[in-house]
Assembly symmetry: C2
Homo-oligomer: 495 residues x 2
């Protein structure tokens, strides 16, 4: 007689009937119960396993509907003679495996992922200065729950939704809120994307042929290098100083070659935190006009700024419609929320939206509806205000800790916005060794070379103050400073 040694796990949420169903399915498909064999009557099995008869019946019924069992009144339940599919483990790579590596496209092999992005990192390092992270404790938990609950109310419309431009109420809300960035536009000027990263990818798709030149800030956002690299662009770096993108250098680049796109982060330069000056903005737009070059303005962290009143977006000075403007909610909320938006002239926006259909049709509509709720209710705005105060205090703590602890030769930029500080380390140490030593002590931060095209600037560091409280920030910097001094001594000895 067949032995069914099933033990339900009552700790999780999975109903017991489903656990039994999965268990029986494995027995059948692995042929440990052969075709034609009779299963115990549900009453017997229920008694022997200490389950309700209904639980067993539900499991049997599921397997009958999947064609694995057949049931005949008065005779019992049998495994179908129809041979079940043989289970096969997914083939491992190896000697007998398929030679995938030889088949990869140029695009695929061209885009090597920076080591820092390759995972393997601790989810919760003791001192987390990494960018792109938030302090979950600051998130508006109740508002998020309410927004997602309400999002599902118009289920009929959600179910019928197929507009690649995005959920109309969300586009409406974004158009409204963009007034705060000085941009007056209609919902039809806005398209929803999976975070600002997808705007970069779509701009690459729509504008870049292999070998075309894209200019980006150096140091600059690594995601831009990823996206344009995947379009096989020739990426040219343009230096950044305390006023933002160096327009004199950009002018030289534009004189020397045809540039298909200039990517910039005027509000909060990534990673330095510098705000582009009025003069530079004017010069940038003049150059873009003179050379008829599109600009991609990534306003990714526009909600977070300190001190001076906000400078309106570059897009507000864009008379010809040659600025592609993008923003995201991944920063105001958290990176796992993949919703961003793009505002651009109609012909370009249409082309981006059409190209987007080939990728994934559109952004998840439930998340879009939830975000529309969060905007309409004012919940997002309230959250941003709250978190801006929290971040202002943590920003001050980080700057203070750097002043208090770091050795001479360290310098940094006081960021105009965002939640990171760009630090230049003393020259008399090995920054790669320092980074590794810090990692060993649970201090995680991004090394500067992540933000360069040529692997330089390893002697810089980007530290985020988003995730830890003031005490933790101070302690983290103090420990890091001690390691920095140790590395200075080590370098002296070996010199």
């Amino acid at each position: 007689m067949l032995e069914i040694a099933f033990q339900p796990d009552r700790s999780g949420r999975e109903p017991v009937y489903r656990q039994l169903e999965v268990y029986l399915r494995e027995l059948i498909e692995s042929r440990r119960i052969a075709p034609g064999e009779r299963l115990p009557a549900s009453r017997e099995l229920a008694a022997s396993l200490g389950l309700s008869r209904n639980t067993v019946n539900q499991a049997y019924q599921a397997l009958i509907e999947d064609g694995l069992l057949s049931s005949h009144v008065g005779q019992g339940t049998f495994v179908l003679r129809q041979p079940g599919p043989a289970l096969r483990p997914v083939a491992e790579p190896g000697a007998r495996g398929f030679a995938w590596a030889g088949l990869f496209s140029r695009r695929a092999t061209a885009t090597a992922l920076p080591r820092a992005l390759r995972g393997g990192r601790a989810p919760n390092p003791p001192f987390d200065f990494r960018g792109g992270q938030v302090d979950a404790g600051t998130l508006p938990r109740a508002e998020l729950r309410r927004a997602f609950g309400r999002a599902l109310e118009p289920l009929d419309e959600l179910a019928g939704f197929r507009d690649p431009r995005g959920w109309p109420p969300l586009r409406e809300q974004i158009a409204r809120s963009l007034v705060g960035r000085g941009i007056r536009c209609a919902a039809d000027d806005v398209a929803i994307v999976n975070g600002a990263q997808q705007t970069l990818d779509l701009a690459g798709r729509v504008l870049i042929d292999p070998g075309d030149t894209v200019v980006m800030e150096q140091p600059g956002y690594f995601g831009a290098a990823l996206a344009f690299g995947a379009s096989e662009a020739h990426i040219v770096g343009c230096a950044v100083d305390e006023q933002g993108l160096r327009t004199d250098e950009l002018a030289r680049i534009l004189r020397a070659r045809r540039v298909k796109l200039v990517y910039t982060t005027p509000a909060v330069q990534s990673p330095t935190g510098v705000m582009m000056s009025e003069t530079r903005r004017r010069e940038l737009l003049e150059l873009a006009d003179a050379y008829q070059t599109p600009i991609l303005e990534d306003d990714y962290d526009c909600e977070l700024r300190y001190g001076s009143p906000p400078t309106p977006a570059l897009k507000t000075q864009d008379d010809a419609g040659q600025v592609i403007y993008t923003g995201t909610f991944s920063k105001a909320l958290f990176a796992g929320v993949r919703i961003g938006y793009v505002v651009a002239a109609a012909p370009l926006l249409l082309q981006m939206v059409m190209s987007r259909m080939a990728v994934d049709f559109h952004t998840d509509v439930v998340a879009q509806a939830a975000l529309a709720e969060l905007l309409e209710s004012g919940g997002l705005e309230r959250h941003v205000r709250r978190v801006r105060r929290v971040y202002a205090s943590r920003r001050a703590a980080l700057l203070e800790a750097l002043r208090a602890h770091m050795p001479e030769g360290t310098s940094w930029v006081e960021p105009a916005g965002g939640n990171t500080v760009w630090v230049s380390l003393p020259m008399d140490l090995d920054p790669v060794a320092l980074h590794a030593a810090a990692l060993d002590e649970g201090i995680e931060y991004a090394r500067g070379d992540l933000f360069t095209l040529d692997g330089t600037l390893a002697g810089h560091a980007m530290l985020s103050f988003a995730r830890m409280n003031r005490t933790k920030i101070d302690e983290g910097v103090e420990r890091w400073a001690a390691l920095t001094r140790r590395e200075q001594k080590r370098a002296q000895k070996s010199a």
Copy 2:
């Protein structure tokens, strides 16, 4: 004195303070209130507008934080002298606009969107036979609400989530449920994507260089043509008959040229609904082995099948790991849920995941967590069972209606699964005129040419039975049949 003629809208969910804030912001930024001007005290304004003083204070506070107002104790609230950003409407395309069209990439201009996908369609046509739609009434509303509510519980983990492969509990659940397709794999063999469409896009990115050949079924899924077209593939069609993909034709293609990828829909051929026979499956795999060609198996509608017990996925017979398997939840739930998965050999999966980071990093994590809940609780499985019964009945109704009403010369394939029927119209009519006439009467369906690379097969139609009840299906087909006869007569006359 400044006139503030604000009227709150109390019908919506937007709090009144936010409405007032947006109203004042517009006045300030459009300079209808000039810099330096004094706003009414909050008590006065509250009284004159019939609002609570707290509402006015909240609006003022928001504008102070945004740097638009300044407040001095004892003096009042002023518009900052700092000039506010000038509002500019987004530039319209036109004579003075930027010449975007000349800048588009080859990829962008190569992928013309089929007219049928260009929108402008009614959201709720009276007789909706369009594919990709579902009957919202069949959706598990309460289960969805519960799943999204629970999804937000582990907010700390969601906020820290950055794994491009996807939310681990969802990958775990998918690995479990794939046993039902005969595939035994670990969570690490699964990556989450934005619907099966993104698998196609990523396969294109990773495997296709411009000009490389991809083979797909003809007629075949239009989304595949979009994705591979965007990779600038040379797409070659391979015929389909009542046993699925014609392997004899595939053999000829493979002999003639190097093929980088074969795309197929074995479980429910899109759009014909045919299931690939055992013989063809074996021949396909033999050919793929002989020519070392990867296969992309799109198991998009695997949950919906009628009659015979399910045939296991092609992937189960894949010894070398050369089959890329993809599935989606957009069909079991609704298309707006952009969650799919891909199972593939490790080196390929890694390359796809890395390429994916350049696109949008990863899929929305709240939606992933909700789906993991829906799988774990058995809610999705219960829904699929329920809807399978509903669809079986509607499928029968559509087949019956076609038999009862359509003129001689019409034929169709009884689909093995999915929720569409592929109909061949009589030869003696103009199918484009019929399609237009049907549209005018509110009968919407996909014309066959949407599924071909060369615009042929317009004399076919794909009708979905998902969205209407049996009566509505019968009525729709009856009206369509009348139009078909009318078009036949018209063609006779003009002949």
